[in-house]
């Protein structure tokens, strides 16, 4: 980490987005993570995505659990409210926050310990319920903050920094998210900003339960030979299924693409995702095919990345519960209290 704060003064020529903010307005406190930590790259990607999508920082609520990853919401979007909850329980707090005010954007940041071990139950159920959110797991396969124990996403046979071979099967968060009903499922790599930023933007504009598993190497405890979550390993085994080229409101398909090379997905908020296929025949709107593809390639030791699945007709928990368009936290006594007359009637029925 560095202790040298960047000056708050902005250069007058910094570009502002449509809502009048510069990219720097999306920054947070100085990171206290190790230099070179993948998590800081993810924070930078979140900043980039929010700035590019013209999101007002204060309309984002950042929630996290406990661990290195869960500290990061302090390091981006400083003008947003954040909530560093308890270990493994961010999904429930995010669910409650989302129910209270459907008008904000909910960003859940978690780690592999937080989501795949102690929080596996809540991870599963938040996906089942289809809470509208962007859920990012900063996945390094190791417990960083407690100095190097294996986490539940560490691959069987991978080696710890101390030389121990992991004998447990890994928890496959992508497989679970696909099976449990997440409507936007992606995997990326903290070292590939060009891929990650559009995936985050796609998740933000999705309108349902969006999950991104980001392999994010731990430079202190899991970046050695024998690890399957190191920079080198992921670079060598990265198999992207597609690339999101750009997202614009319903722009025309340019002639640069060969027929069948592009899939377009109209998102909840009217934006269109334009996916350029990198794998022949990969259809990101087919959940079963996605599960099959990911499993097959994972078995070969490949790290499958890209937008693995998206449901263009996603719905969310508010839709299922038929909650009012006015956020619940904006309703007052007038709207909520049935009043004395109704109570008198009720009393009469109880005699």
């Amino acid at each position: 980490m560095t202790y040298l704060a960047k000056p708050r003064l902005h250069h007058p020529s910094l570009t502002t987005n449509k809502v009048g903010y510069t990219r720097r307005d999306y920054e947070g406190k100085i990171s206290t993570l190790c230099a070179g930590c993948g998590h800081d790259s993810i924070s930078a990607a979140i900043i980039q995505a929010c700035w590019e999508l013209d999101i007002e920082p204060h309309r984002v609520a950042k929630l996290s659990g406990i661990g290195c990853s869960s500290k990061t919401p302090d390091y981006f979007l400083g003008a947003s409210h954040g909530f560093n909850t308890v270990h493994g329980r961010m999904p429930s707090v995010l669910t409650g926050a989302n129910l209270a005010n459907r008008d904000l954007l909910y960003l859940g940041v978690s780690g592999d310990g937080d989501s795949a071990s102690i929080g596996l139950g809540q991870f599963a159920h938040v996906m089942r319920r289809g809470v509208c959110m962007v859920y990012i797991v900063e996945n390094n396969g190791v417990y960083g903050l407690t100095k190097g124990q294996f986490s539940a996403t560490a691959d069987r046979g991978s080696k710890s920094k101390k030389g121990v071979i992991n004998s447990d099967s890994p928890v496959d968060l992508i497989g679970m998210a696909l099976q449990l009903g997440a409507t936007y499922v992606a995997r990326s790599f903290s070292g590939d900003k060009a891929q990650l930023v559009p995936l985050i933007k796609g998740a933000i504009s999705h309108g349902g339960a969006a999950f991104i598993d980001v392999i994010s190497p731990c430079v202190a405890f899991n970046n050695h030979a024998g690890s399957t979550k190191s920079y080198d390993y992921v670079r060598e085994h990265n198999e992207a299924v597609n690339r999101i080229d750009f997202i614009t409101p319903r722009s025309e398909i340019t002639t640069d693409y060969a027929p069948g090379e592009v899939v377009e997905v109209l998102q909840h908020d009217g934006l269109t995702l334009r996916l350029r296929k990198l794998h022949d025949g990969y259809d990101p709107t087919d959940r079963l095919a996605a599960m099959n593809h990911v499993q097959t390639h994972q078995a070969r030791g490949e790290v499958v990345t890209g937008l693995l699945y998206v449901d263009p007709d996603a719905s969310d928990l508010h839709e299922a519960l038929n909650t009012s368009a006015t956020p619940l936290n904006a309703l007052g006594r007038q709207e909520l209290c049935p009043g004395a007359q109704a109570l008198a009637k009720l009393n009469a029925a109880l005699r």
Binding site: E56, P57, H58, R59, A61, L63, P73, D74, G78, A79, S80, H81, G82, F83, N84, T85, V86, R89, P91, S92, V93, L94, T95, G96, A97, N98, L99, A100, N101, D103, L104, G121, Q122, H125, R129, H318, L321, N322, T323, S324, A325, P327, L328, N329, L331, G332, R333, E335, L336, C337, P338, G339, A340, A342, L343, A344, L346, N347, L350, R351
Partner: protein
């Protein structure tokens, strides 16, 4: 042979098999007496089971309005062969045993000192009905019919109740009325009626309503403005969430849009339930969860977070018998300490103790206000006895002018005007800081909420002075709470006394009855009914003003007494334990006996002391 003679003052107990449909018939019986203007207090004593195990329904009829469990049974309706022996043994001498005489029982199965009334219920049903389920269900209505004749309950009142219940379902109405008449006709023709115990029309019910505490608490959450409820099914609290759902459907659907002004989530466990409530509370919606002791155990980590990060949370704890799975369908007040100090580190929480459904309603709405005002978890401590049983109580009241107290929430205008915002800063001396809700202002008022230590401006800090400032402020906030919670209710003895008694929650009706009995016996006690923790000043004063104070509670370890000793530094020797903890609701008889014994024993001891003293003086 002695015959119990009593008008409008007796206990009748129904022994049934779980799942046989007896509860609704028994409720019908209780409600009919109520409609005759005579107060009743029924108690459903049921097992953790859906079908087959024994279940009882005990109805106390009391024109004086005593709602506590009395103890002893004057009439047993013995419909369950499994529990026959114990049921027969439970009857008071001179009492009445009503049973199904279809199959003959040997004389050894009865007692010489009770009156036996046999009725061939199974034969009657088999002769009329061919469907097994109908035989079962109507058997219950037939015995209600017979009992109504035996006890002088007006048949027309029961028919009127049927008419309300089966409005628009004429076929069901007719068949129930028919079964009722079958029972009544048989009793008139073959049985000696009325018995020595009977019901006579009175005017002792008045404006009171008949409702269970869980429904009342749910309704309190509706009136108190709760919009988010998250829960996990657990006896005896599940009906709180179910009632909330029912009332929401009635009162909270926008007629114009058809949209819901509520969100209810049946979560995957209690941890997620409280997490959802914490998230909603943080984001400015009034939220609650309903659970019981095992659920609170699971929630404790989050309760600590809500205490330390200062987030409004309302938890309804319908207490049952502990520890562990304990007695899931029996009642206790045994979560006092585990809730008062829930979670690791130095924590203290606000507890409310409603005495009946009327207060369940009132305290639930109050809890939502207090949680917002104090920005902390607030527990509504009910129990199975008041939660799951219908109880006669004062009607619900709501002041039309009442506004919700949302506490110290800074608005966008406040922030825009440059008002200083320190999330954990005490600005007006009550220990309560201001908060902001997410999304309020583009550049001001955001902060990072966390369970780790921080300074007054919510910046991460492990500095000693920052920590001490924060936790001392939380103590000050707790002192503020003592003035905001429902205050104790004092009931002075008719004459000056050095004895006092403290009680709370569902103990109330038994305690009130015991006080009457004790006064008649010449034992005078000033009584204080606690309605909340932290203890207001008047509690300490009450303890100072009396030489000895009985603390009556329904747990083994005298948890409320411990809390009083711990929080008020009172000499433990002056607090006398009166403890009832077998899972049944406490009775007036039990309290009276315990207090009487202590007072008498003490009188003997103090006389002896005087004698010893004199003796020593003489020797000297």
């Amino acid at each position: 042979m002695k015959r119990i003679e009593a008008v409008n003052d007796f206990v009748i107990k129904f022994a049934n098999v779980n799942g046989s449909g007896s509860t609704s018939a028994n409720e019908l019986f209780a409600k009919a007496i109520l409609r005759m203007g005579v107060p009743v207090s029924p108690r459903n004593i049921f097992p953790s089971n859906i079908q087959g195990l024994p279940t009882w329904y005990e109805v106390r009829v009391s024109e004086k309005g005593y709602q506590g469990r009395r103890g002893g049974v004057d009439m047993m309706v013995a419909m369950n062969p499994q529990t026959w022996d114990a049921d027969v043994a439970e009857l008071e001498p001179g009492g009445y045993l009503f049973y199904d005489s279809t199959r003959p029982l040997p004389p050894s199965k009865f007692r010489a000192d009770i009156h036996v009334i046999g009725m061939p219920l199974t034969d009657i049903c088999n002769a009329i009905y061919s469907d097994p389920r109908q035989r079962q269900l109507f058997k219950n209505i037939i015995y209600v019919g017979a009992l109504s004749v035996l006890l002088g309950v007006d048949g027309e009142v029961i028919e009127a109740l049927f008419a309300e219940q089966y409005k628009g379902k004429e076929k069901l109405l007719d068949s129930n009325v028919r079964a009722l008449h079958l029972g009544r006709d048989f009793a008139k023709e073959h049985l000696d009626a009325p018995l020595g115990i009977r019901v006579r029309r009175a005017d002792a019910v008045g404006e009171q309503i008949f409702v269970d505490g869980n429904s009342a608490a749910a309704l309190g959450c509706i009136y108190g403005g709760a919009t988010v409820a998250a829960w996990y099914p657990i006896t005896p609290s599940s009906s709180v969430a179910e009632a909330f759902q029912k009332y929401c459907a009635r009162y909270r659907v926008d007629p114009a849009t058809g949209q819901n002004k509520f969100a209810i989530v049946q979560a995957e466990d209690e941890i997620a339930s409280i997490g959802i409530v914490v998230g909603a509370g943080w984001n400015g919606a009034r939220a609650f969860t309903a659970t019981s002791g095992p659920g609170v155990s699971l929630m404790t980590e989050f309760i600590g977070l809500a205490y330390f990060a200062e987030i409004p949370v309302t938890i309804i704890n319908v207490q049952r018998g502990g520890p562990s799975t304990g007695m899931p369908t029996r009642t206790q007040q045994a979560d006092i300490l585990s809730c008062a100090y829930a979670s690791h580190g130095d924590t203290k929480h606000v507890l409310l103790f409603p005495e009946d459904p009327h207060e369940c309603f009132e305290h639930a709405a109050a809890a939502l206000d207090l949680a917002d005002r104090l920005q902390t978890p607030v527990f509504l401590m009910t129990d199975l006895d008041i939660g799951m049983n219908q109880r006669l109580c004062q009607p619900f009241e709501w002041d039309e002018a009442r506004e919700y107290d949302r506490g110290k929430v800074m608005t966008a205008e406040d922030l825009e005007a440059g008002k200083d915002f320190g999330r954990y800063k005490d600005v007006d001396g009550d220990g309560i800081p201001w908060r902001t809700l997410p999304g309020t202002h583009p550049t001001r008022g955001s902060y990072f909420t966390r369970g780790t230590t921080r300074d007054a401006y919510a910046r991460y800090s492990e500095r000693g002075p920052d920590y001490v400032y924060n936790v001392q402020r939380l103590l000050k906030k707790f002192e503020t709470a003592a003035g905001l919670v429902p205050q104790p209710v004092l009931r002075d003895a008719t004459r000056k006394t050095r004895l006092g008694v403290i009680y709370f929650g569902s103990t109330s009706p038994a305690m009130h009855e015991a006080l009457d009995v004790l006064t008649d016996a010449g034992i005078h006690l000033d009584a204080l009914r606690l309605r909340a923790f932290p203890f207001p000043q008047v509690v300490a004063q009450f303890l100072t003003d009396h030489d000895e104070v009985f603390v009556v509670e329904q747990n083994r370890d005298a948890q409320m007494r411990s809390l009083l000793v711990n929080e008020l530094d009172v000499d433990p020797a002056r607090l006398v334990r009166v403890l009832h903890f077998d899972g049944t609701p406490i009775t007036a008889r039990f309290i009276t006996q315990a207090i009487t014994q202590h007072v008498h024993a003490e009188a003997v001891t103090s006389q002896r002391k005087v004698k010893d003293h004199n003796l020593r003086e003489c020797t000297a």
